[in-house]
Amino acid sequence: MVALDATQSGLAASGGVDPQAFVRRREGLSELDLMVRGATCAGCIARIEGGLREDDRVEQARLNLSTGRLALAWRGDPALAADYVRKLGRLGYPATPYEPEREADPNREEEKRLLRAMAVAGFAMMNVMLLSISVWSGGLEMSETMQALMHRISALIVLPAAAFAGQPFFRSALRALRVGHVNMDVPISLAVFLACGLSVWETFIGHGQTYYDAAVMLLFFLLIGRFLDMRLRARAGEAARGLAAMQAATANLLEADGRIRAIPARDVKAGDHLVLAAGDRVPVDARILEGEGALDGSLVTGETAPVTAKPGLDVWSGMLNLDGKLVLEARADRDNSLLAEITRLVEAGEQARSRYVRLADRAARLYVPVVHGLAALTVVGWLLIGGEVRPAIINAIAVLIITCPCALGLAVPAVQVVASGRLYREGVLVKSGDALERLAGADTIVFDKTGTLTEGRPRLVDADGVPDGALEMAARLARTSRHPLSRAIADAAGMGEAAADVKEIPGGGLEAMVAGQRVRFGAARWLGIDAASDPHTEAWLVVGNDAPVRFCFEDRLREDAAEVIAALKARGCQLHLLSGDRAGPVEAVAATLGITDWQAEMQPQDKIARLEALKEAGGTVAMVGDGINDAPALAAAHVSISLASAAEVSQAAADFVLQGDRLAASVVAMDVSRGAKRRVLENFGLAAAYNAIAVPMAVAGLVTPLIAAIAMSASSVLVTLNALRLARGGR
């Protein structure tokens, strides 16, 4: 049992990362930021903060429940970091260190700016309504002077408020106009300016009706839409950074004097000597100097069979060391590793994707010329009929105010916020709002095999076929090891006893004395068995002098894979399978799942080429993948889905990340996206219907400020309620 305990506590302590590399020193205090998983309630906060404060040296322990971040500061040795992380693990909250952002997050800043603008617009709207409504309802009793006073006070409130709260729109409109474009913010800014200008003119010269309330109401509703949109983006960005932090990479640097020091992986320079323990990932591209064993390259190449490690072999960043300690010499720093090459391909793909035009922008292109044309026609029409300038201009301004896209501005963000909230509850992380639009249109879905359709780790095949007792005997040894084959055996055998004093021979297997007999479990070569021609991944058990027992393993399909494939077919999607693995296993998976179109031994470039071919053929392509080798393809597809267990670059490249590795969530994502698209189109319909009624009235000169206020707020509320319908439905 001793060996087992040591392995497990080692796992819980680090998760493969040494927290000391992330400690910052300041004024005698050591500070560390941790990402804590599993904290959901007041009890969790109390246990985590209380548990850490039991140590007198801890000065500060504060958990942010929304983001799962724990800020920790203590007096003294940075090496205590590992103790605190271990303590959190014991409390039941696994924690990973991460590096906080150096500069303030621009999305968060923007979010706060919009919230401030919204607060000011809301304040101004409420107070001006107070004055406007008393003018509208008391019009007959109220003396001219009193009305004039009310208007002047309104001006005093609205003009500064609009100047402040309208800035996000004014700036964006100006930017668009400078490069010769027209976006939605141009008519918005124009409407606000004209409403304010007309009102000021009426207050001091004309003594007619004023639109102060309309100007701030417009801003308030539009800012709600903007804020929701930005919040969605900031949230998604935050969650994505959280995921990245979970995979924070460190490297163990072997110094010239033989000491080992943990450093962040990006500080590794070419030529550094690194120590790679069993279970660690290769931090940068490197060459093996010492040690033997096996490396799992499935995340890098998509191939499930482990690579045999020996001195002189080049290894790539992202590979997992399965057994034995290796000493590596870095061939490149992190920015020049395979990962960086992949990242370059990802960026190229993302640029192509940014050409996608969001639905709201497409609506804006149609909307702006129509509205401005209508306003111009109104001026001309009234001049022709009446010949007077003042009513012609007032009515044209009324057209611009009443058509101002309040409902249109809310139509898309309200739906997307509701949809991504629902998906979040279903375990799907949405990285951007327009990803929902793109997924809704997807008709061709491309899957990766290893780690996506399959579990990406070996499972014991035919457990009933091995002789009685052999599995339990193998499991006694296997429970002490972190090698994937050992874990597969331990999983198959379930909980049980572990053998004492198990020796792990790198590149070979496990050896122990059980009940006076020498038991060995491992590779055929090590045990002297001739089995080179066998296509299966396998391991052998030899007890004493008995005949060896063979265990076969395969990378099993995910439990919900067949269900997901069937569900996607039922939704009319074409399915493809592209894998970096050898043809045999790929064909087997394709046959089992009923995917007719499959290709094996694909390099990342081949995958991109295939996706481009599918796009050429007119398909809207969604890519589902997890490996580092999938990342460029994820970025090249119209829309992409990744899993929480996927490589960091893949999660960064994907639009959706499925939490908890449930593939079935991809079907939910598809359904919600399609539902969201329907709601958005309905909302556009509602906005159009509102305009169809309001615009003729405005052109005819029948609109009063009261009607404008009612029409604008009613249409905005209607659109929001329609979006909320999406929150219901499903479980």
Binding site: A42, I45, A46, N127, S143
Partner: protein, 58 residues
């Protein structure tokens, strides 16, 4: 109607106070952790009184 001379400034001042309060709380980071704040109110910081039976707080 002359009472309005008083009432309108009072109403607007009160609204402005609310706005200032909101902006202050936004700036001082009170909206950074909405979920945590909702739960922290349930936490019991009190220590059990000495001499009495200590109860588990679960």
């Amino acid at each position: 109607m002359s009472v309005l001379i008083w009432l309108i400034p009072v109403a607007i001042t009160m609204g402005a106070l609310g706005l200032a309060g909101f902006l202050w709380s936004l700036r001082s980071g009170q909206f950074d952790d909405m979920d945590g704040a909702a739960h922290r109110i349930l936490m019991d910081d009190d220590e059990p009184l000495p001499g009495k039976d200590t109860k588990s707080d679960d």
